[in-house]
Amino acid sequence: MDRHFEEVEHTADIAIRVWGRDPAELFAHAARGMACQMADAEGMGQTIERTIDLTAYDAETLLVAWLGELLYLSERDGCVFTDFDMLEVTPSRLRAVARGGPVTRHRQHIKAVTFSDLEIVHTDAGYETTIVFDV
């Protein structure tokens, strides 16, 4: 799949549309898309590695929990995560390894990942969703 994510116009906040051939790829692309909103992700180091293990009520809640976890770790550890090994992604469980590094060029602060009109859609080519971030 060529398209990973793109930015979508939103008056006050920011939104990205994300594609993936399977849920694991969708979740990885969403995380990468979020990182690109937070910082100039090109050429960033990958000196920090975190293992993430989450359970959630359904796939959308899991997606919000996954991105929210990365936001939290970014704030706590002063870094942005840009590379992801998705070990397991089911509608209610996620295990992954995230790698990233300290940010040299911040783009913008993301306060939170919202559920605004959030729906993971199954298409002929795989999966697609649009995520709105509160900034």
Partner: protein, 483 residues
């Protein structure tokens, strides 16, 4: 899709979307604006989100949008919704992530020309005293036990710690402490994020400004608020930082299952809610109240930083460098208030998301010195333009559950603002207007460019014309500090 033609014009400033427009609306929706602002509502998803808000269980009278409305998530920004406490719901998405983002206005005893020679120096001192920026940490550290006390008692905690004056409490919405806060309902993660950030501005649209009162519209009310033409004042705009974001995030996720448990049908998952009278609803309220109190204390600690900075720079140079508190008011909150509905007094849970309480004269919750005139309403404009001090009205009590606008309201996305505005040029423009600017980055500056917002004066004319607040004074910035 809601169309323009679905709306009926009630008067010059009120547009009503009948309940019958959508099967799932429980009450009509009302949008406040003149013809130009009404047209603008259809350029993004504002009206769809307003109609969605009207579907929430227990909502009374109307779902309302103040004239600074724009698309948000769940509720539109500028949204007001009041719920019955017996059968109604409380929605974390109806308050937002930056719980009790709000404004505090401090007055000086100085005229512009007395402050003028020291504005550069004051700005530098304020920048040091009031940390800002992404993940910015405050100057004080609190233990977990202290944080629990802080979020339970709000500004009363600060008073005990010598970080507030009695009159600061009196001049804060809810006296700086929303009752019902219970830190045991707040996650460890929210506390972890909140502990280092007490007394910090943050980034985004948050700011600290030194302003001058450029024009007074209502002498009598201005006098009651301690404001006069040419006076230097200070505005602090920020919220509950990572603590509030995490409380909202925990609850928006946590309540997803409650929606199914209570059989609620919602058109947007961000509108997630729970019955007010349920364990989930009570837990959210108790946690949200903690974040409300955190934000009051955050602005209180920043205000003490402002007082310190003024003393540092101005002691011995001017007659009186002290600052007094005009008022502190929330823009994102849910609160229990009494209002009249169809001739009956009712206790309601009023959600304000990007809206300001605007109580009229005689309201019991007001401090004695403001009771005869009404509550100060603080409306910050976009950076480098104007801000307004308004006063609440009886008409707001009748039309909008005592609510009015909270700012200018965005019209342009941050991305488009960054693409069309050069932060460096904007900084130059502001400086050419004589405004001192301290900002974390030019990009951040560009995102908050005045072009990205509605004209705050236009919005204020509408609320004044509609009678849901009255103009008292206009402020012009002398210095801006941004994260």
């Amino acid at each position: 899709m809601v169309q323009k033609s679905d709306f009926q014009r009630v008067d010059k400033y009120i547009w009503e979307l009948p309940k019958a427009t959508r099967d799932d609306m429980r009450v009509p929706a009302r949008l406040f604006g003149d013809a130009e602002l009404f047209d603008a509502a259809f350029r993004d998803r504002t009206v769809e989100q307003l109609a969605n808000t009207a579907t929430l269980p227990g909502i009374v009278k109307y779902a309302l949008a103040m004239p600074d409305f724009h698309q948000g998530y769940g509720f539109p920004i500028g949204g007001v919704a009041a719920m019955r406490v017996d059968t109604g719901t409380i929605s974390p998405g109806g308050v937002g992530y930056d719980i009790n983002c709000g404004v505090r206005l401090l007055g000086t005893h100085l005229e512009q020309e007395e402050v003028g020679p020291y504005v550069q120096e004051l700005t530098a001192a304020l920048y040091r005293a009031c940390p800002s920026g992404v993940g910015g940490k405050g100057r004080m550290r609190v233990s977990e036990r202290e944080l629990n006390e802080l979020v339970t008692h709000g500004v009363k905690w600060a008073l005990k710690r010598g970080l507030a004056r009695q009159e600061d409490l009196a001049h804060t919405e809810e006296q700086g402490c929303l009752a019902g806060a219970d830190p045991s309902k707040v996650s460890a993660r929210a506390k972890e994020r909140g502990r280092p950030q007490v007394g910090s501005l943050g980034a985004g649209n948050h700011f600290l400004e030194i302003d001058v009162v450029e024009e007074v519209y209502d002498e009598e009310v201005a006098q009651a608020f301690g404001l006069w033409e040419d006076q230097a004042v200070v505005q602090i705009h920020c919220g509950s930082r990572g603590f509030g974001h995490q409380v909202c995030d925990d609850n928006v996720r946590g309540l997803q299952s409650a929606v199914r448990k209570y059989g609620l049908q919602l058109p947007d998952r961000e509108l997630v809610c729970a019955p007010i009278d349920s364990p989930e609803g009570r837990a959210y309220y108790a946690a949200m109240a903690c974040a409300v109190n955190y934000a009051f204390v955050n602005r209180q600690v920043l205000a003490m930083g402002v007082r310190e900075a003024f003393e540092q720079v101005l002691a011995g140079k001017v007659s009186d460098f002290d600052l007094f508190q005009v008022y502190d008011v929330a823009h994102n909150i849910a609160k229990f208030e009494e209002h009249e509905v169809d001739g009956r007094r009712m206790r309601l849970c009023v959600h304000r998301k990007g809206a300001t309480r605007a109580c009229g004269p005689g309201y019991a919750g007001l401090p004695a010195d403001y009771r005869d005139v009404g509550q100060p309403v603080l409306v910050p404009g976009s950076m480098g333009t104007a801000s307004y001090v308004l006063v609440g009205t009886q008409k707001a009590m009748e039309l909008t559950f005592g609510s009015t606008c909270h700012g200018a309201g965005r019209v342009m996305s941050r991305t488009r603002a960054r693409k069309t505005v050069s932060g460096a040029d904007l900084r130059k423009e502001l400086e050419e207007q004589g405004i001192v600017v301290r900002a974390g980055s030019n990009k951040g500056l560009a995102e908050e460019a005045p072009q990205a917002y509605k004209d705050v004066s236009h919005v204020v004319e509408v609320v004044h014309g509609a009678g849901i607040a009255r103009k008292v004074a206009r402020l012009r910035p002398l210095a801006v500090i941004k994260g």
